[in-house]
Symmetry: C3
Subunit: 115 residues, 3 copies
């Protein structure tokens, strides 16, 4: 009934329960330290990959919680986000400012999706 994707000693990349998947807060990997746009694209590509592994995709997003280290970069983040989400299939969303665990990260995104 619970299936974990990449379960680690500290957290799992994602956890599936019934017909819903909860992803961890994803942060940039290759794009860490680069522009907010590049970091956003990096994070969204990772989310795509995990959703794909779970047999779902971005059209089934339920909610997204977005943390930016500088809320004034929301426009730059949105420019990448808007091109990524599917019209009429967008999730509920909140975006707030928060300092993140590594100084090279400008964004962290935590989503839930339906399977």
């Amino acid at each position: 009934m619970i299936t974990r994707i990449e379960p680690g000693p500290r957290y799992s990349s994602a956890v599936i329960h019934n017909d819903r998947i909860c992803l961890s807060g994803y942060v940039p990997e290759a794009a860490a330290g680069q522009s907010v746009a590049a970091q956003t694209a990096d994070v969204l590509a990772q989310i795509d990959e995990t959703l794909r592994e779970a047999g779902t995709d971005r059209t089934k997003l339920l909610k997204a919680l977005i943390f930016l280290t500088d809320i004034t970069t929301i426009g730059e983040m949105n420019s990448v986000w808007d091109a990524w989400v599917v019209p009429n299939q967008t999730p509920a969303r909140a975006t707030v400012e928060a300092r993140l665990a590594h100084p090279s990260w400008a964004i962290e995104i935590m989503v839930e999706a339906a399977l």
Copy 2:
């Protein structure tokens, strides 16, 4: 299986999946820039309206995540919140400080409810 309320190009006001609804982080509209109490009442009225559209109400709240731009205003927020929630039908809740996307917003609330 997924129903979206006011789906926009960036996010939806709310997303229904099975018997649960996830609302976006709601921010003040008419009360933006006014007192924390007024902004809280504004946000809660918007939440009421979306829950009503979905055929549910505040007695079925499951969880709430509240962001305040100044955590020391939590007492003022609570004075409005306490009058709004229904005794014995209160949600799980967390309240933390975070800078929000527009300087005229003092509060953002993201909730989930059962249908």
Copy 3:
């Protein structure tokens, strides 16, 4: 269909809906003002207790949202967290910095679990 654990006038300690439980953001009680490690242990013990009351346990955690008032204490928090979670049964997780409602609190954790 909705069962609330310790429902109060402001929030409930936890809310059960179908086979999922949402806990409030838990903060330190006895360990408030002490080390981040002590506060983390305090919060996790409270989470254990609520999960137990609901008939579940930490092996069924789905997601965790962790707020630290100082993100540079994440290592100290993780040292306690890592010993608490069960290998291969870890939740999805996000950890960000946020100021909390009382200055003696260094950490707040909000989790969801399956029943």
